[in-house]
């Protein structure tokens, strides 16, 4: 069998998208009640779940405490059933710890950590199904979860991958494209200011092509930010409708946290 043709002469990718088109994105916020914030996202067939705890005081060794800002703790894992062949080790391998580190760097750049000195924010992300673009799905899910947790951020952090095939940049790679041997670049963007929170590329690429590739990835990230924004707005609307309706029941109870919309308990 000949190698897979990633971009046909007619300009279609293996799954029928054009080079600059994203996969279908679906997201939901506040999927779990016990955590402070949570979100679920599907980008094509990649599905990720993010959960946020905190800010709370630093657990474990006190020495990690920072006196001017909060510590961000990230953990990335993949479900054993997330790939075509069952995974042996869901987390703790080299790839996962690297991914955790990348997530941590990304969110340190986005979350206003100086508002919470001497405290800690935990972000746990799990890939439920993997089909390429794991990093970007994680970042997008975590962004929604952080927003759900009510932690202030500079901007949404949106991430997207991009590849380069036959002199054409491809946005939002699927697994077949990622494993096809071409270059793949992951980029996390704060879309409003256009600042790059993280940029990662492992394969070789000619310097001349780098700008076009980054440009394509940034456009894709901006597209994603629109989607995330509409998800957040939709969620707020739903929640506010619910709170208004149920407000009577809960009005007597003073213990409702301001950060945490009560409706979530019902979902």
């Amino acid at each position: 069998m000949a190698g897979l043709e990633l971009l046909s002469d007619q300009g279609y990718r293996v799954d029928g998208r054009k080079p600059s088109e994203l996969r279908k994105v679906q997201a939901r916020m506040g999927v779990f009640a016990q955590a402070d914030g949570s979100a679920y996202i599907e980008q094509g067939n990649t599905k990720a779940l993010a959960v946020v705890y905190g800010p709370h005081e630093v657990r474990g060794s006190r020495s990690r405490t920072l006196h001017d800002r909060a510590v961000i703790n990230c953990q990335y894992s993949m479900a054993t059933f997330s790939t075509a062949e069952r995974k042996r080790r869901p987390h703790g391998d080299r790839k996962s710890s690297e991914m955790s580190l990348h997530l941590k760097q990304t969110f340190e750049a986005a979350v206003l950590t100086q508002l919470y000195p001497r405290s800690q924010i935990d972000i746990y992300v799990k890939i439920l199904q993997s089909d390429g673009g794991n990093y970007s799905a994680c970042v997008n899910a975590a962004t929604l979860a952080v927003i759900d947790a009510g932690i202030p951020m500079r901007d949404y952090v949106c991430a997207c991958s991009a590849g380069f095939v036959e002199d054409t940049p491809l946005a939002d790679l699927c697994h077949a494209e990622e494993s096809g041997g071409g270059t793949s670049l992951a980029l996390a963007l704060l879309p409003r200011g256009g600042q790059i929170a993280l940029l990662q590329m492992d394969a070789r690429l000619h310097q001349d092509h780098l700008d076009t590739l980054i440009e394509a990835a940034m456009t894709a990230c901006k597209g994603l930010s629109d989607v995330l924004d509409s998800v957040v707005r939709q969620h707020l609307q739903e929640v506010s409708v619910l709170t208004r309706d149920l407000g009577v029941c809960f009005s007597a109870s003073p213990c409702i946290s301001v950060r945490k919309p009560p409706a979530l308990y019902l979902l």
Partner: protein, 1061 residues
């Protein structure tokens, strides 16, 4: 867009099955690429099916897979290939077939499009559980056909063709307007006049059927699966390379040329030997294979003796005793099958072969291929004919590969058939220029367009422009001008090249055809032009006294030092004042009385004197400049490896009256030098403007070990040759001059060129900067710019130069240039075609030599005895060069019975039992009559006869008849002898062939001669004066054949000069 999932079951790298889920997006905006579309599809980019057809045809996946060749007929129009079918080709037929389909889809001459049915929301149908793949594909294709019909609101009936009879019955009555019929029926009812397509279809279908009923017994080991091979190559267990079969021992020896340096562990530095058919395991010459090395004790050496009737041309090989890496083929990575010419056996042989006379074994023309089994019903009719076949498969159960018959070329042994054979074997396709291509040509009489006058620099009145070419030249590529600038401080040298790119726009049919041909092909008796004659001989040709467009390079030189002060590149309008030929130019330069260009004949004496003086002055200046340039290049170490050229003298009717060796005139060198200079400066310009995508030409420095034969041979004569750099090599070759035998120097130069590799085109992005240099010309950058009429590389360079000029002016290029990858692919294509052109030329020369000697009785005819020079020694014979005919060949000193040549007192030879003793520079035979030694560069007398062969090309057979020179050099000069013999040879053979065809035509009752239509289509043949002239020049060069890589080109460089600088 709608998202669905597609579930596939794939094999993982470890061999297990994996279930893979892939997303699959469906959309509505898939264009239909039909001119009839009313729905506003985005059909703007790409080909569009024309509206004036009776129907559209949608082939089923199986049809595209197996019968793509039939669909390649240009007469079949309105083909809609479905994505389903294309993917099926890609998955089951491999990259090569798929690329063929892709190029078919891209080719604007074919009326076919690709419809991405699997992404179209209303045409897609998912595969159902348990549905067979074939059924599903047929269903998809049918659905696509229905969609097409509905999309075009029934304006055009759609025909789906399939090979599956069940599909015909299932679908044919479902929809009105969408017909489902079998391929055969389709061809018969819609294209009854296209006999060739029907025959081809029948032939392929039969081959497919035969394959199913194959035998069971296994003849070869199975090939390993692709994943295992890939892993094995990565780990170094297997070696990847291209299989080269030894022409002289096709059954036994093949070599695998190892690619890249991936095999670090195995310290392989030579080719891998593959012995015998079993170990070769069904690989065919040219395939990319994976081999496994055998253990060291099973390694074997190669044979160095001359085989029966064969000359071995390789220099510096190891003796037989020394074993080399030996291996066996474990798998084939890529088949590189092309069209092969075969000969049908006579009937008596067929019947003895098998009970079933439908299947016969045919023998390919190329020695390196195994016999091919084909099935045809025409075997009786085609006895002794040559035909084209294609290979289909080679199962492990079959001794021979299976193929199918494509087309008949003609009876073996006829000139026309043999020429077609040579063209096919070199993959050269030169159909006559089509109507559509000729329609693109500008109308003749043609005038300078007024718009062009404004944008071009007008040199008509300011510059004295003239051309210097061989006498009678029609396609004048290049003209020159030189003048002293006002003030006297500087000179202006100009080279003006025909502006072919103005007439041949990128992407036009003419351009595509020229690109496919890549060069003009010169055979011994005819030539196939790259561009239609309207352009090559008229509009592009810079003839004297008419206005022509040109692409110019103008240098401002310092009057004293000749340092370049300024260079100007650009399009110009010129009018060449004088169309000179070399001899006239030389005598003008020498100031001879009476030498006068014809253009001045009608002028008054005073004006004539003035104009003549001007022209002389220009020529003098030009020579002065060229001398300086040459001197500068000589310092860098430029090589002179030129052979003797021959010129034909013509009488008033254009008949050749005599052949004289071309005097090595200084003018030749002057013109050549200017051209090299222009090429060099253009190369610098385009390389600076496009550092990653300029087309240049490089000539890599040769490896020192290849010079062994040269230095050893020279040592035998007492010359020392220093090969450390191009400069010292040039110097030492100049010194190695035997005053008594001018041939020695010529042979030494020939060996030097043989040691070098060919100069090649490349794209600058593909090589590091230090590999740009041209060894032979001693220049750091070189390209081809000066002959766009007959080389496609020059056309590309012209376009690059235009783009570079526009870029400098800040004009945005309206069309993107070819990127590095495309350009590199193009460079490869041109290099391949140039090599093919060389081979074809060499083979056609050999063909003519054989035809010449065929009807002469070697025992009686005086012309069959000739003088020969020994130039290499082998274990059982020697290689000789016959200057009179320019033939190289082997002479055996030991025959099949083990007898050796014994030499008598008077020098005559005869066979006797005895022994041979070989030394590096001599070989001696000892018999009862005594011992005789043949040394390198000795002259001997040989008799030439023809060894005929039914299936292959005829060969010349040389036999030593005397150890003395033949009649003490019967011809005055070697060069003249060569030219004379060869010209006579070509003429005689052409006459012979024409007479034969005439006789045949008369016999059959005046069928029109073939050549007439060909002439109509501007394919020059035979009696064209210019052609003859060119050929004679080339023939003279061709005997230094296969070499000459570093030869600087004279004026219009000898067109087919095998490896022009």
């Amino acid at each position: 867009m709608i998202k669905t999932d597609k579930i596939l079951h794939l094999k993982s790298s470890r061999g297990g099955k994996v279930r893979v889920v892939r997303e699959h997006y469906l959309r509505e905006d898939i264009p239909c690429f039909s001119a009839l579309c009313l729905a506003g599809c985005a059909n703007a980019d790409g080909k569009v099916l024309s509206a004036d057809l009776t129907h559209y045809v949608v082939p089923d996946a199986a049809v595209v897979r197996d019968f793509l060749e039939v669909l390649e007929f240009r007469e079949l129009r309105g083909i809609v290939f479905t994505q389903t079918a294309c993917q099926s080709v890609q998955h089951s037929r491999g990259r090569r077939q798929y690329n063929r389909l892709r190029s078919l889809l891209k080719d604007p001459r074919h009326d076919c499009v690709l419809f991405c049915n699997e992404f179209q929301r209303y045409a897609y149908c998912p595969r159902e559980k348990g549905e067979a793949q074939d059924k599903w594909q047929t269903r998809c294709v049918y659905r696509a056909a229905v969609w097409y019909f509905d999309h075009l609101v029934g304006l055009k009936p759609v025909v789906m063709i399939t090979e599956d009879p069940a599909a015909v019955t299932e679908y044919s009555s479902l929809n009105a307007g969408v017909y489902v019929i079998s391929t055969q029926e389709y061809l018969q009812s819609f294209w009854p006049e296209l006999q060739a397509a029907q025959e081809l279809h029948g032939s392929i279908a039969q081959a497919l059927q035969e394959r199913e009923s194959e035998g069971q017994e296994r003849q070869y080991t199975e090939h390993l699966p692709a994943e295992v091979l890939e892993a094995g190559i990565k780990s170094g267990r297997y070696v990847q390379g291209t299989l080269n079969v030894n022409k002289h021992r096709a059954q036994l020896e093949a070599f695998v040329r190892v690619e890249g340096s991936t095999n670090k562990g195995t310290e392989l530095n030579s080719d891998v030997l593959v012995c015998g058919a079993k170990l070769r395991n069904r690989a065919v010459h040219g395939d990319t294979v994976a081999v496994e090395l055998l253990p060291r004790r099973e390694w074997r050496g190669r044979n160095t003796a001359l085989t029966e009737g064969e000359a071995e041309e390789r220099a510096g090989e190891e003796p037989q005793s020394q074993p080399m890496p030996t291996g066996r083929v474990v798998g084939i990575l890529q088949r590189n099958w092309r069209d092969y010419v075969v000969t049908f056996p006579p009937r008596d042989e067929v019947q003895s072969q098998s009970h079933n006379s439908q299947r016969i074994l045919v023998t390919p023309w190329d020695y390196r291929l195994p016999r091919i089994r084909i099935s045809t019903q025409q075997a009786d009719a085609l006895q002794g004919h040559r035909a084209i076949v294609r290979l289909d498969s080679w199962e492990s159960t079959s001794l021979y590969p299976n193929g199918h018959f494509v087309r008949v070329l003609g009876k073996a042994g006829e000139l026309e058939t043999e020429i077609q054979t040579i063209l096919t074997e070199n993959s050269i396709h030169v159909a006559p220029f089509s109507e559509a291509q000729l329609r693109e040509m500008p109308v003749n009489p043609w005038q300078v367009e007024s718009g062009e006058v404004e944008v071009r620099r007008d040199l008509r009145d300011t510059h004295l422009v003239f051309s210097i070419d061989p006498q009678g030249c029609e396609d004048v590529d290049d003209t020159l001008s030189v003048r002293t600038l006002p003030g006297g401080a500087g000179l202006e040298l100009g080279v003006h090249i025909a502006d072919v790119t103005h007439f041949v726009r990128e992407g036009t049919l003419t351009d595509l055809e020229a690109r496919a041909r890549a060069t003009t092909y010169y055979l011994a008796d005819r030539r196939y032009d790259m561009l239609p004659a309207v352009l090559s001989a008229d509009l592009c040709s810079l003839l004297g006294g008419v206005d022509r467009y040109a692409m110019s390079v103008l240098w401002q030189l310092d009057a004293q030092t000749l340092a370049v002060k300024k260079v100007w590149f650009g399009r110009t309008l010129i009018c060449s004042s004088y169309q000179l030929h070399y001899e006239l130019a030389q005598s003008l330069l020498n100031g001879q009385e009476g030498a006068e260009p014809a253009e001045l004949a009608e002028l008054g004496p005073a004006e004539r004197g003035q104009r003549l003086a001007d022209l002389r002055e220009a020529l003098r200046l030009l020579t002065h400049v060229a001398r300086q340039l040459r001197a500068r290049r000589d310092e860098g170490g430029a090589l002179e490896l030129e052979g003797v050229e021959v010129r034909a003298q013509l009488d008033a009717d254009g008949n050749i009256t005599a052949l004289v060796p071309r005097q090595p005139l200084e003018v030749h060198e002057t013109v050549a030098e200017c051209m090299i200079y222009a090429n060099h400066w253009v190369a610098r310009k385009i390389q600076e403007a496009f550092p990653h995508q300029a087309l240049l030409r490089h000539h890599p420095a040769p490896r020192q070990e290849f010079f062994c034969q040269l230095t050893d041979s020279a040592k035998a004569l007492g010359f020392s040759i220093d090969t450390r750099s191009n400069k010292v090599l040039a110097d030492s070759l100049d010194r190695a001059l035997d005053p008594e035998d001018p041939l020695v120097n010529r042979l030494l130069r020939m060996m030097a060129t043989q040691a070098m590799s060919n100069a090649l085109y490349f794209s600058t992005g593909a090589l590091p900067l230090d590999q740009y240099e041209h060894y032979g010309l001693a220049l750091d950058r070189y390209t081809h710019f000066t002959s766009p009429i007959r080389r496609y590389a020059d056309v590309i360079v012209h376009r690059l130069l235009t783009a570079a000029i526009e870029k400098e002016k800040g004009v945005e290029a309206n069309k993107a240039l070819a990127n590095n990858k495309e350009l590199e692919a193009l460079a490869h294509h041109i290099n391949d075609k140039n090599r093919a052109a060389q081979h074809a030329q060499k083979q056609s020369t050999e063909l003519f030599q054989c035809l010449y000697f065929k009807d002469k009785d070697p025992q009686v005819d005086e012309r069959c005895v000739a003088d020969a020079v020994v130039y290499a020694i082998r274990a059982n014979g020697m290689l000789v060069f016959i200057p009179q005919y320019g033939v190289k060949g082997a002479v055996y000193l030991k025959n099949r019975e083990g007898q050796v040549v014994s030499v008598r007192q008077d020098g005559s030879c005869e066979w006797e039992s005895g022994s041979l003793q070989r030394y590096p520079d001599r070989i001696s035979t000892s018999t009862t009559a005594g011992t005789h030694t043949f040394c390198l560069f000795h002259h001997i007398t040989v008799r030439i006869s023809v060894q005929s062969s039914r299936c292959h090309a005829d060969r010349l057979w040389l036999e030593v008849i005397s150890s003395r020179p033949h009649r003490a050099a019967p011809v005055p000069g070697a060069g003249q002898g060569a030219g004379h013999g060869r010209a006579e040879l070509v003429q005689e053979v052409v006459r012979w062939a024409e007479e034969a065809s005439q006789r045949e035509a008369e016999g059959r009752g005046a069928a029109p001669k073939l050549s007439r239509e060909e002439r109509e289509f501007r394919q020059s043949r035979g009696p064209n004066l210019y052609t003859l002239l060119q050929e004679i020049r080339e023939l003279a060069l061709a005997d230094l054949s296969s070499c000459q890589s570093a030869m600087p080109q004279p004026g219009p460089p000898p067109p087919a000069c095998p490896t022009s600088a």
